[in-house]
Symmetry: C2
Subunit: 673 residues, 2 copies
């Protein structure tokens, strides 16, 4: 059979025999460029259609809706009642009592004196409750962001040797002049980084680029969080064992930390260890109770504050601080002072701050948006991720001017907030006020609080971040995902938080690229008694049609996979002919490509289809396409491919293509040897 004949004469005969039954694929009218761009911009940046409520509304109403959109406080504030407040008050007091010891501990992770953690639990929650949408999130410093800031800031801006080994940024005790200067500069770096965290967050929201946090896959986050939790937990061994800062490594990887711990066994402080372990056991018991009997949800929430009070009392009474149990010491009793003057916008420090801010903003957003979405879906309301980012951005910018470091939504506090029955962001305000009172009048109460109790509280809090159940599920469902999870985990554990983050992002993107580069293809067969064609591997009953090979390409065809797809289709044909040769069947005369899943094609893809067509012609195999989508058929037509192939070889369904080709085969009895 010559190609000419195949192309021109036979199809006509076949078509005459059955004119109406075959549906042709229509080549749609091309939209204008402007219309195309409009759709692309909308789908990319406004997929959630944030202006939907504004549609078909009169002007005044639009203004009101706009006000409520910008300041959600006007939205939920309208219906606010005393009964709602009762719920928020309970929830606010609960998270407040949890937050105070956490704040003191986390600020040490960030390399800051304890007071800054309290500052950060005062201003940002207030700002968030004006601009934020989520009703359940609880705002404040969090462990992962704190340790990220602390380790990176120390890496970028190392302490000068002249500041001596005894210099510690978490303390305010005088060591020498160089140490004081370094501490001042370190504070400036952290506040400037916080400012840029806010700038990046607000910018991402404003430019509606929120989708970039979607590039961190769930699996990578599980791994990263698990690794960070263990890293943070290990860091707490310093406090729990009562080791002095000078003899403890600044690195966060497990090897360095464990070496630090065991090289200084002689410096372990046994009273410290006893107090720390006792209260750790107490906290774990409280957590167990809260899980076992949900109505006692408040037990784990108040347990941290209770341990702080008890341990402080214990130290005050027994005076064990004289025996090497390190205590929090003096906290300045101020409410947040302004830190505008500390922001630095020049030189090396600016560079460090921008980089720090960028990394912190991504991690903080990922955590906060995940929390927001989780609780929103549990209470069935909707969160506009981009708007939420703007709220976080404003909150951190304001925070950086009032002595706060990076705040975001905290997993542990939000969960407590939710179970304590919060209704609106007012619970955050209640927590704020509680922190304010502590700052104004009660900081001296924490003077005798032992540092080991803070270590116990942090260990107890981060244990929840090691989500073994999620990791097992990931392993069961998708091995490649599990590799991303494990890679991020290992990166944090054995290298550093930053490396772990890079591995998480890198593996996530590599996974996309790999999937795009090696898409799935499948051989289709007919499901008996229907006109349905399905993957013969999934449906072993499906029957292959003799002389006709049907291949489905399961991906958009782009430059990165077009060569592969061409080679894979040719390999399907080779393999099929091997099989046929063994069975003395009819050799392949038609290759039907099911295009339904091919949602797009680019110029490189079209080029390789032209190549494929040429190769198949040489082998006297006729190519047919089934059900190409709107965009694909348009591009194939624009590039002239449709004319080269012949429009009669493009079908609406595989069934119709097979029907048509079978009829042609019947007209060529010599091939059916």
């Amino acid at each position: 059979m010559s190609n000419r004949m195949q192309e021109d004469v036979l199809p006509q005969q076949a078509a005459e025999k059955d004119d109406g039954a075959v549906h042709r694929v229509s080549i749609p009218q091309k939209g204008t460029l402007a219309r195309g761009l409009e759709v692309a911009v909308k789908e990319t940046f406004f997929p959630d259609d944030p202006l939907r409520p504004f549609k078909n509304q009169p002007g005044s109403r639009r203004f009101l809706l706009g006000l409520r959109y910008l300041f959600p406080v006007f939205d939920w504030g309208r219906h606010y009642s005393f009964s709602t407040f009762k719920h928020d008050l309970v929830a606010g007091l609960t998270i407040g009592s949890l937050s105070i010891p956490q704040d003191i501990g986390y600020s040490k992770l960030a390399g800051l004196p304890a007071i800054f953690g309290l500052y950060t639990s005062f201003v940002p929650p207030l700002v968030y409750s004006i601009f934020g949408v989520s009703r359940d999130i609880a705002i404040g410093p969090v462990a992962v962001v704190s340790i990220l800031l602390g380790t990176l800031a120390h890496n970028y801006f190392p302490m000068p040797a002249s500041a001596t080994a005894k210099c510690d940024t978490t303390s305010t005790a005088f060591v020498n002049a160089d140490c004081s200067a370094y501490r001042e500069a370190y504070l400036s770096l952290i506040f400037t980084a916080t400012f840029f965290t806010g700038v990046f967050q607000a910018a991402l929201g404003l430019l509606r680029l929120g989708f970039i946090i979607d590039f961190l896959s769930h699996a990578a986050i599980v791994g990263f969080m698990g690794g960070a939790a263990i890293t943070i937990g290990l860091q707490q061994l310093k406090g729990l064992l009562g080791l002095p800062t000078a003899s403890f490594t600044r690195n966060t990887d497990i090897v360095s930390v464990m070496r630090s711990v065991f090289e200084h066994v002689n410096q372990w402080n046994w009273p410290t260890i006893a107090i720390g372990l006792f209260f750790l056991a107490f906290l774990l018991l409280a957590k167990f109770i809260g899980k076992k009997w949900p109505k006692y949800f408040w037990v784990p929430a108040v347990a941290p504050l209770l341990s702080v009070i008890l341990s402080t009392a214990f130290v005050t009474v027994t005076g064990v601080d004289k025996h090497g149990v390190s205590i929090v010491g003096k906290l300045d009793g101020h409410i947040n002072p302004s830190s505008v003057g500390r922001l630095i916008f020049q030189g090396e420090m600016l560079k460090h701050a921008v980089l720090l801010g960028f990394e912190a903003s991504l991690i903080a957003l990922t955590e906060a948006i995940a929390i927001g979405r989780t609780f929103a879906s549990m209470k069935n309301y909707h969160i506009d991720g981009n708007k939420e980012m703007m709220a976080f951005g404003i909150m951190n910018m304001v925070g950086s001017c009032s002595s706060c470091y990076v705040a975001t939504g905290s997993f542990s506090r939000s969960a407590v907030n939710y179970s304590a029955g919060c209704r609106t962001p007012v619970s955050n305000m209640v927590m704020s006020v509680m922190v304010l009172i502590v700052l104004a009048v009660a900081t001296s109460l924490f003077h005798n609080t032992p540092n080991c109790i803070l270590a116990s509280i942090i260990i107890n809090a981060v244990i929840n971040l090691v989500d073994i159940k999620a990791a097992v599920l990931i392993w069961r469902v998708d091995k490649l995902d599990f590799i991303a999870c494990l890679g991020a985990f290992m990166g944090v554990m054995f290298a550093s938080v930053e490396i772990g983050l890079l591995i998480a992002v890198g593996l996530s993107i590599a996974k996309i690229l790999l999937h795009v580069t090696r898409p799935h293809t499948a051989l289709l067969g007919n499901i008996p008694g229907t006109s349905i064609y399905r993957n013969v591997q999934q449906y072993p009953d499906a029957i292959r049609t003799s002389g006709i090979l049907i291949v489905r390409v399961d991906a958009a065809i782009y430059f990165s996979n077009s060569n592969y797809i061409r080679e894979r289709i040719l390999r399907w044909i080779d393999e099929e002919e091997d099989r046929i040769r063994k069975e003395n069947g009819v050799s392949v005369q038609f290759a039907v490509i099911e295009m339904s899943p091919v949602t797009n094609i680019d110029t490189t893809g079209i080029l390789s289809f032209e190549d494929l067509l040429k190769t198949l012609k040489k082998r006297e195999i006729q190519l047919a396409l089934a059900n190409p989508g709107t965009g694909v058929i348009q591009k194939l037509n624009d590039s002239g491919f449709v004319d080269v192939l012949g429009q009669q070889w493009i079908f609406l369904t595989v069934g119709e293509a097979v029907q048509f080709c079978s009829r042609l085969l019947e007209l060529m009895p010599d091939k059916l040897a």
Copy 2:
């Protein structure tokens, strides 16, 4: 209607009414992990099944096949005959005569004395003809790689001020000791970079990572090549106008070059310009003749050598070199000396060389593989890209030890080779021998060749790389591709070759990510008289089914798009309900998601399906899935999603899902208000 009822009672009734007609989606047996990995490795690294010919062969035959696989020369050599040789001889002489002047010119682009271009046209073609698969490719130095090496090497390793402005790495004339030392170091850098180019190429081939060059899209390459061609052409203005090297910029961007040209109008050398333009016109005419009348293909091929001979004779006779026409000067009459001693494997130079080698290897491979594939598809044979890469790698490693710089397949020479009727790589050997003869006995003939003629030859050669027709086609077919093309073009033109390359790769990858992040979704309707469901936008005749919304998701569901897909499906429902409210139709009771194009899903994707299910349940809409693929249904099952949804809500086709849901709707007459 309560959710419970919807889930349990009604489906049973419907199923009873029609038990046999609905095909259930089978959840396939899960393959073992090992089997899954085997398939993944095969598809990723061996998609072309290179070991296919070895299957089912006896041992001795396998050895022979293996030998032929490693040394393709044993493959085509078996059938080699005198008549084949005649063709190869003609082709070889033609490309040889084209190559000599090109070699001299390109070596200047790379910042090397002319003789190194000739060296590079001697050894690498010989090596390639032993290991290479392509029968049509012609090997040698090429313009784009030469200029990339030349500009990057000068950037990484700038000339010390002490070498004076008159120092020029393309010359061998003595200036001062620092200049000579710089020249030596520069040569070492280039050879070491060539060595690493070979190492990277061979490693990519050996590790079967050849697919990474697929990440440079066709569109980006068109733009990059066009930009590079114009850049190279502009650089030639230096030679064409007879400007001294010292007064010409090292930058390659159009602004710097044009400024250099017009700031030194007083130094333009008019005899040089006259000779250069005359022969440029001659070369363009020859090219025109070759295009117009294909049988005169040899005219453009011999024209360069002819112009060299004529212009050299002209200079020798008239002595215009006394009037400022710069000439090639003395070339050492040696065959390639060893350069093993020049390779440097330590310090800063090693770092520069590795980086240079990496960039050069990618560009060289992209050009060579594209050429190889083009001609292979024209003659219908197959090229194993990974094997070809190993051949290029060995060739460049050997080359770097014998005073050659990076060689690859050249567009212009390969086209001439093809039209001159080459049959095997023997034409490359013939060219090699021709270059050898020139090197051994005839280098002195080029003493008086004016440099401007080399500029004309290069301009004439690179003009072809500006592929306006391809750019127009790209614009017509895909606007986003065109942006990538334009970006790469502008990057090369206005910044540098390196930036252009980065833009090309960056835009290519960004395009993949964007497409993956914002996949297409479509509302489906029934095509009247069939059970086929198609996009209502592409097929306006398609009819929506009342009470049932059918959405097709046109992509694998990954972490990067799962949030978008969930939100988009909810928006389809919102939009449909808006429309229904206007028309007082039946509100949406069932949402059927056509999963055929969803070729994969990851853990994040499953989580957002769980979210979607929860939200829909709250809105009293029942979710149904149609035709999930093997991998997808397996993962949905493993994660427990199938149990939550209920297996009865998973259908083989959209048609069956609609049939089932319609029957349920009939049983609930109250909803059909």
